[in-house]
Symmetry: D2
């Protein structure tokens, strides 16, 4: 752990990759081996498509947390034929030994734990830059996205090449927005038609998370979506598993590795009671914390109440709560004023995709004294003497302070991703520029691939029973509106 | 309790009603008063529409468990103008004091606990038979259905009047099927054009439960649905509350009142892990039972496994499980052969809508010795000396052996029912013969009506936040495919 | 259920018994048969001592809730030789069909649901009055007590016969106290040396519950205890099972049968976090209620906090809590002032042994309007318009409104009772007038008798392992101070 | 994390201490500051005794996991006057930054993560070796022990100096036993009367854990205990909090940091259902694992069953369980044969005090191939191709793979330790060579010190209520046999 305190920024960049330390590859490989046993969905897809290679030669850019689990996803995509380049989708989420192991196999990966924002977007660009065979560069044919940063970059770059400079030249916006704009201007100078050539060959994107999906629907509604997209997040075997059961395991993991805090007896506030909030609240309660939920949606609020949670506003909790977790996908959930009014030593963190759920920028410029305890753990002391702890600078606490969701649940999510990639390529000539969901039979298939590993025995419908309820014997078993 | 053992079938039938004992009306009224405090959704709808009377003079037939909660629904429908006639939708589900209280107010109700099948269908017909003002009888303009028995009867009657006698004259089918056929023949003889005249004025049905909704979709797909229908079951505030949280409370209640059995330490098998199964399994586990789930659907099976349940086939549980509960909506879930192979003194019950989940008929004719312990509790002893207990003759154990779901959750379901009735009438000229869902804003509204009662404080979106996630400040907040 | 509303007080008293309705005996017998399958501890003791009859001819008076489970205890005592007379220890706790079944076998039993206090104490005296063989009456040689009423009566009667009239002639005290005093005066008049003759042959008492045990320790400390006593309550297999797991099942049962109330979403206050409080709080939380605990003991309070309960004073909960349950063994926990300040329609009940946990007398005389909803459910409306519901008149809600703890857990308690009776008789010549605990090997034996029924397989220590931890291979395994 | 993979053994030993890296002191101090806010019990004791200095000048040797929490204990002992030397009581449990921070203040500490057994016992000796003021060395006046290693060493050393060489010269025993013998021979050669002089001034030991307490009772029973001892483990505020709630938090933490494994859906076996087992099982179940318990004690087994766990033998679980945790305090719980028969990739760990719960030595010499994944995580592959993962070499997984129990619960344990030290010194002239428990009022006091931090409000007894139940208004509230 000590090394984290004195990291010098020396990178391993001998090949077509940039990682923290290539010597970590062996360790990473051992953990990938372990993960493979926990990811039956991906391993089964590998076996099934080993001969046909449905993505043979297809250029795939991935922008998704560069963890051990993602390494298994990357190698699955490669096993079914893809030509892959990868970046992480969060500055803190890379596991350096995972990145090293992937780099060591010759797959271009650009990711390390603790990137600056400038480095982050440079890495994203690297992951988008395939040799075009003529000494030049060309973008991907397919994109695996998580949060939509790659999709955003291509859309914005394309917009710029099409002559619309308004956004790139606008001022204001967050620091990150300025970084993106600068990058796009540089690309335009260096590779004038890069985005146009890329879009011409771009066949689709599969998107991992609630926030990114939301962006896609907005693009589609606005009529500006450039490619077909598959909403992987809303496969049941993604959102009802990864978001719920993944967070139920990884939130506490992040809190524990960051703060070693006793959760029993604490008052914890979970902002938002969607799938992520449900998993987060369950985890904290199971440790003996008293959980308070905040919600805007009366249905989710009523669900929380039915589960025995107190549901109130964040203002009502100030001064009595010890831990705050944002899970909403919205912004300004925890404001500077909230933080200033919290109980001394309150812990504040976010498990939603973007860091604007907490007003981190406002905190930084508030005059509060910042004391770094260890990487991804900072103490801010206000004028009145009270302090709060901010974890992972307001970014995903489970990935910033721990190692993210465990392998088994990610196997579900990534099986959906892989099936979506295969589907996008297979239908590249027929799909419209819309947002698609994977069909229910694939959703059920993903679940099915994970049952044997954990000893589940399914019951089989008889023909008579299937007829009685009007479904095929082999499924799918539910109408599309079924909520699970 | 003793009275139950020696009930003589003397009914109270002095007015346009038939109930067990009209003298119970006072007691029923006291419990209705209590229930009103627990049903803020219905009470709010009463207040809101007290002046406009949106169902003024509309003939409404209800076929829905005649409980205290339903009494509050009935009086809500009346308060907004409807002309109501009512029957229960299960032979065991009536609470006699609730029926008496309703009858005492002059509302025609035909229901008592422990009807024969013949009586049950006669009651249904009574509920369908409004005076037509000319000394004759006419059916309803709207139907509140639960399980679809009224919808079935009208469709089958209409089919017969249209000249298709094939079904009515077919042999085979269950005993209940024969009862229905006999009834339809009798109606045809006595009121030759009753169904045709009824259908001519029938504007719609709102259906309460999974099973009934399933029937409606089958009719719609077959093109034989006669009216617009609203699927109330799949409102989030219905299926994710009533089915889940209702059963979490009422299953154990049924088991306890029937058997006084200790649940801690027992092995309990829950067949099916839909919403009803989820609530049932949670309840049993919370009491300290070790719960085993059976499932056909790999997604639901994986959910059960993620919650820590053993998931296997029913065959694997025979001999080691103490309690069996069916929740599937399918048939032949527990067969005679299963029951014969169970552990001595196993308890068998059903909380799904229809009683064919358990092979009750086969059990009755199997040669097993039947010993009645008390109403709705029977012991069957097989040749090998082992016994099982069958509750409520395989019908809904929570309504047969206890009093069904508690008021608060039913207020959600019935608020949806009432809104659906209002909606059907308001749109009677525009709706097609299809199955509709209530729009999300009404779903959210139903939830909202229940928050204050239990002390929930909602957070309000700022305009900026609403814009950021692209929803109106007042909602609806989620896309239609959102699963909660 | 209806019968409860119009019960006429006609008793069955043809033999040496007094019960509500002897015709209920058949039903009671069927339920006793079922209970025997759930009470392996008692059945095993029957088999083990069937030949030796260790209580042969011993006069045993029982004062313990006359339920189905107690019927199995009574028949166990008889099977091992005892001459038994029985009364209930609570005016509402008798199950009339259980009493009838016992009476029908010729065992003198004096108990019915809904006794007046005068009737209650008369029944207790009847249970104490054995024929002495010379046409007179004599008390028991052993007593099975629950709450200590029989022990109190004998001690007070003996005190009076010894010439100390101070207590009997004192005024003040509760209504119940006056009833006891009147009874003792009557006995003195009718049977002048009854208590002296009884005490001369009285060899011991085994006491069931926390409150009664507390009385015994007080008598022993004061040097006025007349006989050896065994504290059955503090056998691990009693207090850590009956008090905890029994209440976890029966509290909700009482609430549901009384009020049919939805527990999910409600705020429930549990006063006291001992074993009974722990079980009560767990049950309510498991239903989705938000539970608040009140405590005087900092250790128990810290336990509650570690389990995630809010711990505060009752005053802090007034106006926001929906349900109140007292579990303390102390008095005046819920005062009249508390009740007057509660949220409208709050439910108030007690699951501790005595009814003085709630200020019921003060409520009755407060001017509040009382409306009886059904037996054991009363609504009190205060001047400000608010109402509360009081269950079972403040007596044990699980026995008053439902059927008490289920059989399996009572088999543990009653196995301890039976072993205690055998032990008292076997050591009648050596035990001192002190309070004893059963030795640990018997405690472990009681547990062992219940394992097979629920499929538990024990691991066996090897000789080496036993030596390593310094215990016999067959146990006992723990030091006496071990807390489980 | 990477640093762990390439640690070179360079120690910081410039002063009277030996730690891994003194430059970690600043980081350690920051975490100590955080911990102080979570340890109100210790901080309150500091304040209370700041003036009186009850341990002024007393030589105290501590042998207890050298963590951040222990650092707060050490500084508490120093604040109330003690002269302290410290070692860890487990080769893997030291947090190097905690040790550094303590060393930096001038307190002699000898501990680092990953000691060899030889180093471990040398550190223990160093912690026992105070300057005697005359240029020589002398042992402590008081000992804070955890597991009893210091107590063992002094007893064995004293025995040797008294002329009994039998144990020291015996062969056989574990490798660790041989290390101890060698050390004692060396001490005898170098400091011939060290133990005799030490024992002459030794006034007592307070012991932290179940296993160490067990050793003390064995010494006391054998009549060979040399000093008064206080059993801190069996304070309610220790064993019912640290053992239970501590493990409920730290077991999963160890598993997660070691393996990042998904716990939901897994089958986990917890061997032993004492307090540690109860906490461990609860934690795993709360994550969605299906937990199976093994037990030898029928009472604990019945408790597990009442909580809904399957209880069976370890043999019955082989091939179907994914995770094994030993919690027994006994040896040979998981044998080599068990490990060889486990499901491929099973995870095996121990959370009991000593590492002999798992047959680690047998595993090492079994011919299985060992692959080190990362520190404290080893994979062993058997001849049949199956592997298991062994965590922390069979030592305490929560301390070896994570950071042990969190501060708040340790504040309870260590408040007991501190009070015990004060008590031993205050009564040094009166206590006998026996094992004492802290009196209940101190136990309650420890709890009381922790309530405010987590917002608990206690209810106060009225005088009348206190008299009614026969306790002082301020407590203690329970009899000594009360089990909580």
């Amino acid at each position: 752990m000590n090394a984290q305190l004195k990291t010098e920024r020396v990178f391993s960049t001998e090949g077509d990759y940039k990682v923290a330390d290539i010597s970590l590859a062996d360790w990473g490989r051992k953990e990938i081996d372990i993960a493979e046993h926990e990811m039956p969905g991906l391993m089964s897809i590998r076996r099934k498509h080993a001969a046909a290679l449905p993505l043979k030669g297809v250029r795939v850019t991935g922008s998704l947390h560069m963890t051990i689990q993602t390494a298994v996803l990357i190698e699955t995509l490669k096993d079914i034929g893809a030509d892959v380049r990868w970046a992480s989708c969060n500055i803190f989420s890379t596991q350096d030994h995972a990145a090293a192991a992937i780099a060591a196999t010759g797959t271009p990966v650009f990711a390390w734990k603790g990137e600056t924002l400038e480095e982050y977007w440079d890495c994203t660009l690297e992951a988008l830059s395939f040799p075009d065979g003529n000494g030049g560069l060309i973008g991907p044919e397919l994109v695996v996205d998580d949060g939509g940063d790659v999709t955003l970059l291509i859309h914005k770059g394309y917009e710029l090449e099409k002559g619309d400079e308004s956004w790139v030249n606008s001022t204001g916006g967050s620091h990150e927005e300025q970084v993106i704009k600068a990058l796009l201007k540089r690309v335009r100078a260096e590779r004038p038609d890069f985005w146009t050539r890329t879009v011409a060959q771009w066949k689709g994107v599969s998107e991992e998370t609630t926030t990114g999906v939301h962006r896609l629907y907005q693009l589609a509604e606005a009529g500006t979506l450039l490619i077909p997209a598959i909403n992987v997040n809303d496969s049941v075997t993604k959102s009802k598993f990864d978001n719920l059961y993944g967070c139920r395991e990884s939130l506490a993991d992040g809190l524990k590795r960051a703060m070693d805090v006793m959760l029993a007896g604490k008052v914890a506030v979970v902002c938002g009671y969607g799938d992520v909030g449900k998993g987060s609240a369950a985890s904290l309660r199971n440790y003996g914390a008293r959980v308070i939920v905040t919600e805007i949606d009366p249905i989710c609020a009523l669900q929380a109440a039915m589960e025995g949670y107190e549901v109130t506003t964040i203002e009502d909790t100030l001064g009595r709560a010890d831990i705050y977790v944002t899970t909403t996908g919205n912004k300004d959930i925890i404001t500077l004023a909230h933080m200033q009014a919290m109980k001394d030593q309150a812990i504040v963190c976010n498990i939603g995709h973007f860091d604007n759920e907490i007003q981190v920028d406002a905190l930084y410029t508030s005059g509060a004294t910042r004391t770094n305890i260890k990487p991804q753990v900072d103490k801010f002391t206000f004028g009145n003497g009270n302090s709060i702890f901010l974890l992972a600078e307001g970014r995903l606490v489970n990935l910033g302070c721990a190692t993210g969701h465990p392998s088994f649940v990610m196997s579900n999510s990534f099986a959906n991703q892989t099936l979506a990639q295969i589907d996008l390529w297979a239908n590249k000539d027929s799909y419209e520029k819309k947002v698609y969901l994977l069909p229910k039979h694939l959703d059920e298939e993903v679940a099915r691939l994970h049952l044997e590993k954990i000893g589940v025995k399914l019951t089989k419908l008889t023909r008579e029973q299937a007829d009685y309820i009007g479904v095929p014997v082999e499924g799918p078993f539910k109408p599309d509106h079924y909520r699970y």
